[in-house]
Symmetry: C5
Subunit: 254 residues, 5 copies
């Protein structure tokens, strides 16, 4: 469970709702047609943009943002060093059937056991990494698009409200509340964009970067195993990708 995401989302909405409640009846901020035009309009514009499946998939992706995927480079490096040592002693084929938790590393090692040439293995893994990156980027694009469309839909709603208000100004007492209602869609658009869509898009971007880093590390590991590098070289090569904290923790363990 990615607690920070949940806290951030609920906390952000809580602060906004609290701020609304402070100044008077909260129902004043509730307007169904306004909500419909902003949220509905954003979804419609996204449908133009993406296939039906992509939009439904985006909801799944959205929920995934609340669950943390652990990527532990230190563990991966240890595994690579072990595998490399075994491969040097007993031959590459001895890695057949090894228990390798990281699926990307496992795939690379399996291809090696199957006897494919290192360049081809590298090409295959690079292809998979690239495909993953493109797939993830597309998910982020959906939320980025929604994040930039929601304020636009909010503005459209406000303009509609303003035009209606301006054409009917016979009752001065009604002007204030009408304008308040008109402004609500701009408010909805801003909340959707800056609390719901943009931060999630950024989070997915961070996740992708982490996963790419982990998979790139696995690729370097596979390459080293196939080349038969000795333990010290592999260790030095892979440790280069650890943060100072991770290196310190590792040194402590040792």
């Amino acid at each position: 469970m990615d607690l920070a995401t949940l806290i951030g989302l609920l906390g952000g909405l809580g602060l906004i709702v609290g701020s609304m409640a402070l100044g008077g009846p909260i129902m004043a901020f509730f307007n169904v047609p306004g909500l419909l035009i902003v949220l509905g309009g954003t979804i419609m514009a996204t449908l133009i943009n993406e296939s039906m499946g992509q939009v439904i998939g985006a909801i799944k992706v959205y929920l995934q943002a609340f669950f943390e995927k652990k990527a532990d480079p230190t563990e991966l490096i240890e595994k690579v060093v072990d595998l490399a040592a075994k491969a040097r002693k007993e031959g590459l084929v001895s890695l057949e059937g090894e228990d390798i938790p990281d699926p990307f590393l496992a795939r690379g090692v399996q291809l090696g056991v199957d006897g494919l040439a290192p360049e081809i293995i590298n090409e295959i893994l690079a292809g998979e990494l690239d495909t993953m990156k493109k797939r993830h980027t597309r998910g982020q694009t959906v939320f980025r698009f929604m994040g930039s469309t929601a304020p636009a839909m909010g503005m459209i709603g406000t303009l509609i409200g303003l035009v209606q208000m301006l054409q009917n100004m016979s009752d001065p007492a009604a002007i204030g509340p009408s304008m308040a209602v008109a402004l609500l869609t701009t408010l909805y658009g801003a909340i959707l964009a800056f609390v719901l869509f943009q931060p999630i898009a950024s989070k997915l971007e961070q996740r992708t970067k982490q996963e790419v880093a982990q998979k790139s590390l696995a690729m370097i590991g596979v390459e080293s195993i196939l080349k038969g590098d000795n333990s010290m070289v592999i260790q030095s090569k892979l440790d280069a990708y650890l943060s100072p904290e991770q290196r310190a923790a590792k040194a402590e363990d040792a």
Copy 2:
């Protein structure tokens, strides 16, 4: 038929028109000179920017966005594997006259049958891919340009209306409606940009990415056929570009 695009476009416009109708007579939102300056001005600015043919072509491109082009990588991969197996057994020339549904793959194979060197074939296919990308990008550029010009034209229209209103404020009752009319062009600009132009530009961008991915896959396939890679290598190389779902579906079929 790309249903999502149609639903998105009609749904988006429906929500906006519904929202207009809710608050009073919808005719209040109809203003011919305003529409003329925003839509006309956008088209005029685009004409400065692009040749006549390009603008007319853009309408064709716009309509194309409503028709889905299926690109099935799984099918393409199967075809490549079959062709490669045949080429290994009976020689490259045996592929002459083969029925290859993907035109880009067919073209690459034909060039191989014609006896051109693999590097030259690769260069030719890369050239065609690049030309397609540039052509598509230009189509998208037209709609991006329209999407950023429409709000500007809307603002110009509103400024003209405001200046006219401000210079003639003797009748206070007329101020509201005049300002409403002035705001209409801003509203038109926003609707054109955020419902009609920007999402279509994004959709065309997505399409191009898909087509480039499919064609790149075909290029790798052609390269593998010419190199005489064995089935397992080709399969592994090309499967790297499938999504997890596509791989699962493929495994199920097998």
Copy 3:
């Protein structure tokens, strides 16, 4: 004559002027000091930015946008194929004195006739292409800069007008017209930017892309002639850069 540019420019201005005239006396939109601060200020800011010669040159470039330069890749390809065939039969030196309409192709062939090595010729042509690209980009930069500065100058003018209006509100009847005048500079800035400067900058960008594509094609052609590629290879290589329409037209001709 690039008709679309002229129509776009006159049509855009016509729509705006028409819209102004519709609502009352058009002279209300005419304000010399306002025009001076927006157009003058934009030119002054550009002078800071560019040398005197560059600004004067920009006007020449601006006028060039109205004249179409035809770049016909099909014709170029035919010429290259002919030259290559002749060079294969009678030697490279036989191309001396050939009539080659495309000056860039002519230059490359001449360098080959002069006996320079293919790599050096390639380097020279790439240098010229790069220099052209940089020169063109600079011209576009001037108009992009003007397009982003004009609205800023318009805003400065409006702020000055607002401050003057706000400090002198004793006569309520004067407030409206004063504000109208203040808004005029914002309007001028928007018209200059979105009708005159930005679309022309985009047009020049399109032109550059076309010219770069044509020159790149010529470079590939020169390379092929020097390498002594056979007709079919050259044809395939160069045809890759044609659009489907151009290929269809070519097939029809043949």
Copy 4:
């Protein structure tokens, strides 16, 4: 201590607070719920975006911006020249145990003493440099995100305030102060973004560039030591990365 950062921060806040105090009681600018929604909302949105640890880490990074890290390329170059001279005379192993203040240079030399091949050492150092760059970039991203979110939260707060004000306009005397309070959150958002977050993000960016430059210099130095370049070559190679001022200072020293 990085005095400029401290002066800039205190000076900027001082000018703003002074300007507030000049026009009346400063308490008029103090509004706890407003501060809560802007600062709290920004932090919440950042939590969605980043893990808990990352946000806490960002505070540490923020404070680091006040402490200057000296990176003296001249000193580094001298050290490299000395080490290279010693390595040429007494062999690479003689560098074992040398006192090398720059830890990155020390690490490279140690790897050389350990007998690793130059290409592998280069790969390792490049990996470390890349990891550092990514780590730093992420820190900057947090502040950039905060800098763009704070004004959005300010706008949300202002919209909430405006809606509340507009729905309760019975007391005309209360409209002004209510609107003032509504505007406060926009003001808070702007101050947070443009005085606290954006400049610090830019500062961290500058720091990263400096550190990357210093480490790149060390990498070139290590490469030269391992290759056994003579003093003059090393000196010329490394001096290329000094600024004219640094070269002048160095010449004076010599």
Copy 5:
């Protein structure tokens, strides 16, 4: 003396001041606290961003923008051709002590005379070019940062003024002038950004591009001299970087 920059700056400021004077007493536009918060705030934010020395250096850089540095590629090419001819006849060492006005070319030739290998010379010159580019870019960054911060500070000032005005609306006659004063900081921010900072940043960018082009030309020249290319090859290679006008002028001279 770069006259255009001076004319642009004085002309731009003149137009603005003239426009202010036209509508009433110019002193209405003078507000010391407003100027302090905008200019002071911008400088403070820049101090956070940059070291003290960098900010003071920026003033020197600002003044440099008024002095034109001539970079004459035609002259440089002539010199290179002469040097190459001499080197071919009398050997590279004969270039010792030659009078070479371009310091970058002189440096490259000197390194050649000193007997360094061409690849190392190329590496050294590329390092110097890169260092220059980074140094210049940093100077531009300061002004770009100031150009984007000044309007933000202007907005902060206006918000402060508006809040003060809104909380004290008992005297209706004071509202106009108070609002005028509040708007002044926005005006100051816009003038600083769009007349003083942004155009200078653009000018420095242009300068850098010119200098990089000139130095790149010198690098190609040095490479050709060291390789012993003949005059015709060098001439063709270097002429590729001249503009059509420069080539025409050169042809006329010859």
